[in-house]
């Protein structure tokens, strides 16, 4: 699989990493490396997930009670810590997703409007 050069990738906006993690976990339990992979794949390699900030973020979400974690084994028989959405995490995700939708639509409207004038 080709990997793009890191310079081309878009760095994540602050606060959006949490949202993407929760969204990824919607499809089932996953470990950290898997989450990072999944985000990268689903964004067609557009987004760069800084592995160094991924784990503190996971810890933060766990402290908030939005995800829970347990050690388990990966598909290739390695020990890994698997994360799972909790009930409140699911609610939070729904709320945040709609917020994000409104925010990005609004920003897009503003940016497009400016283009039309210019």
């Amino acid at each position: 699989m080709p990997t793009r050069d890191e310079k081309d990738r878009v760095a994540l906006l602050q606060g959006t990493l949490d949202l993407l993690i929760l969204r990824t976990l919607l499809f089932g339990a996953q470990h950290g490396q898997g989450i990072a992979r999944a985000i990268q794949l689903q964004s067609d390699d557009e987004l760069l997930v800084d592995h160094g900030s991924l784990y503190p973020a996971l810890q933060r979400l766990e402290n908030q009670g939005w995800i829970s974690a347990a050690w388990g084994t990966s598909e290739n028989n390695r020990k890994a810590r698997f994360y799972q959405l909790t009930k409140t995490g699911r609610k939070h995700l729904a709320h945040e997703t709609s917020q994000w939708g409104r925010l990005s639509a609004a920003i897009a409207r503003v940016l497009n409007g400016q283009k039309a004038e210019g």
């Binding site: 699989m1 470990h31 950290g32 490396q33 898997g34 992979r37 800084d50 592995h51 160094g52 900030s53 784990y55 503190p56 810890q59 933060r60 402290n63 990966s74 290739n76 390695r78 020990k79 890994a80 810590r81």
Partner: protein, 871 residues
Amino acid sequence: MFWQRKRKEADFKNEISAHLELEIERLCEQGMSRAEAEAKAHREFGNVLQAEERFHESSHWMLLEHLLRDITYALRVFARNPGFTLVAVVSLALGIGVNALIFSAVNAIVLRPLPVENPGQLVFLENGMFNAGQSFPNYRELRDHNQVFNGTLGYRVTQIELESNHGTATRTWGYLATGNYFDVLGVQPAMGRFFHQEDDLHEGGSPYAVLSYGSWQSRFAGDRDIVGKIIRINRQPYTVIGVAGRDFHGTEVFYWPEVWVPMMMQAQIEPGNSWLDEPATFNTWVIGRLKPGITVDQATANLNTIAAELARSNPKVNEGLTFHLARPGLVGDALGAPVRAFSFGVLLLAALVLLTACANLASMLAARAADRQREIAIRLSIGATRGRVIRQLLTETLVLSVLGGACGYGLATLLSRTLSAWRAPLDFPVQFDVTPDWRVFCFAATISAIAGILFGLAPARHAARTDSNAVLKGETSGFQGHRLALRDVLVVVQVALCFVLVSACLLSLRGLQKSLSMHLGFEPQGVTMAAFDLGLAGYSEERGRAFQQRALDALSRLPGVQSAAYSNSVPLSIDQSHTSIYPEEQSDLHASTAPLAIRYQVSPHYFETLGIRVLAGRDFTWHDDAQSPPVAVINQAFARQILRTENAVGKRFRGGPGGKLWEVVAVVETGKYMSPTEPDTPVLFIPELQQYNTTTTMLVRSSLSQREMTEKIRQTLAQLDPQLPLFGTGGLDQVLRFAFFPLHAAVIALSSFGVLAIVLALTGIHGLVAYGVARRVREIGIRVAIGAAPRQVVKLVLSKTFYLLGLGTVIGFALSLAAGRLLEAVVYGSVRDPLVLAGVCLTMLVLGLISSWAPTRRALRIEPTVALRYE
């Protein structure tokens, strides 16, 4: 649970290495070599250590960990500067301790409710005409006809002769209380039972006694079987039915009674003065318990409709009667309002002292902050946030203030224990329970925190402005001008506050000095006294008169006695009676408009014995008795204010019980009778032989020492009646102790404050000058090197200090003029008194000299060669 959710850091590490393994495996699958894959995986992950650090900081314990680290660091900083720490902690301990102590007194007297059920519902009934007391017939009407109280109790502070289990009788103080007293208050006995309404129905029919806890312990040795026993009160048998709780001291916060007796025993407890059915004797204090939902205004309105009816049915004594409700505990507002005002005034003064201490420490800390600029600049430049640095500095000051607060609270607890055990020098059980409770603790904790933040803010603000680049390059300018302005203001404030406190202190001392030379209208020196109550001891009038005569004869014959007399009371003692005076021709004696005079019943030779000058006329003789026409001696104020004449001898007026017609036989000088500050007050002396009184004070003027004379009086009276309890024995100057008690208290309190303020101002000015010198060592060195004389160096160091001192003095003078009005009520003088003014100014000057002595010497010893290599 909270702490169980915390993950181990090792677990987090494992997770990261698991991630790296997975990533390496994936990369190997894509065809990389193991070494390449490992390198790439690590590169992609970034800084593992940083991730671990961020994990660490995301934990709940981070704040606490920072706090602990800050506290440890603060303690290390303090250990390095023991001198500074000691000064800071001591001045804070003094400031906070004084505040906690005074607050615990205010708490005991004003804030803490009575230890009864729902104290907020209780109201004290005041009477618009005669203040605290109500007549007992009026009390009955009020109790039975009001619609706003759930219960209305009446009581009376009274003397009681109580015989302990050893058989020794003592004149003590207690309460006559209506039967519903304990039930309305809702208190529980420690032992036995309290009396109830049905125990108090018939006059003379309820010889029951409830002992106070203290009295049970001290007079009856805590006898477990006391309930049901017969004790002797006023030489009559009474049954002890119960013992009150240890914390219950009746319904006045300052008065600790020893015994409660049902009100219907009034005639037995106060023999010869039965007033339960007397509409003109306003002796009953009344407390009501408001019904739930009834406001004080509603209650007052209801009571005043009753007052209007009382005035209609008995206009002679009740005309113009109105009621007013006050907080119970301090005899209503008559005593309560001034006591509350005074307490808060003193509390304000204490706050000023603490403010001075804070200003002081803020200025010292500001100086240190300037010295620590390098440290702070380094910490900022290696990545500390400004918030973090400010938190560190605030933690330091809070640690200081908590240390100071703890010491201060300990000090206050110690002192308040002493104060609680102390009893006023009075023949009256004045005592306060000022031991600190939770309120005092919260108060001390709060002011410690406020103080810490208050004096910590300046250095913290400083730190927030630090420009680390400039500081590290050695440029300390930028905010220097600003900082000096702030410090100057602090010193001026401090000097001004010190001026106010010192002038208050000197003012009270001046009052004390004046009081020593004050003309009281009698000569207490050389007079010894002893009092007894023949009524309480069961003497009839006839036997009592005979006893008085025999006692006086026996005392007059003692060797060394120059003159002896007796009277019902002496000037400036707590026991003063008033009587209405009417013109000779008026037969209808109507109370409300008549002028009042203080009345003494005295024997012949009274004036001679007390050293009261007779201005005109003759002394009483043994022939001025019940068989001869009534005669009176008046003082000059009586002649001028009531009779409106200078030649009063021979004039006549009506007054006293029954409105007898008295003829003036002498005029004596005007003295002081109620308090040393009173204006001239009319006084009437009548012969005890014509108007018997059971309370008798024997007065002896002699050349013997007080101790010797007291002992002789004791022995002489014991030969006449070995059972008779004496009180008030000792020199007549004991009444001065009582009369000047408020002044003495003010002197002690204000002197302590003054000394405290001086100590604080000393350290404050010292800190300022020392700091100024330390900052200017280089400059002074250069000046000395190019030829400055010592005089010029001193001028350089001190000119500003003395300028600030002068400014502070001027402001302080203005402030003390404003505050003087408040003080003049307690101490006898004015701030404008030139002696006081000169004293304060001198004190400030000496203060300035002493506090700047050491730093100035340091400035003079600066060696240019050393100074220029400084830093």
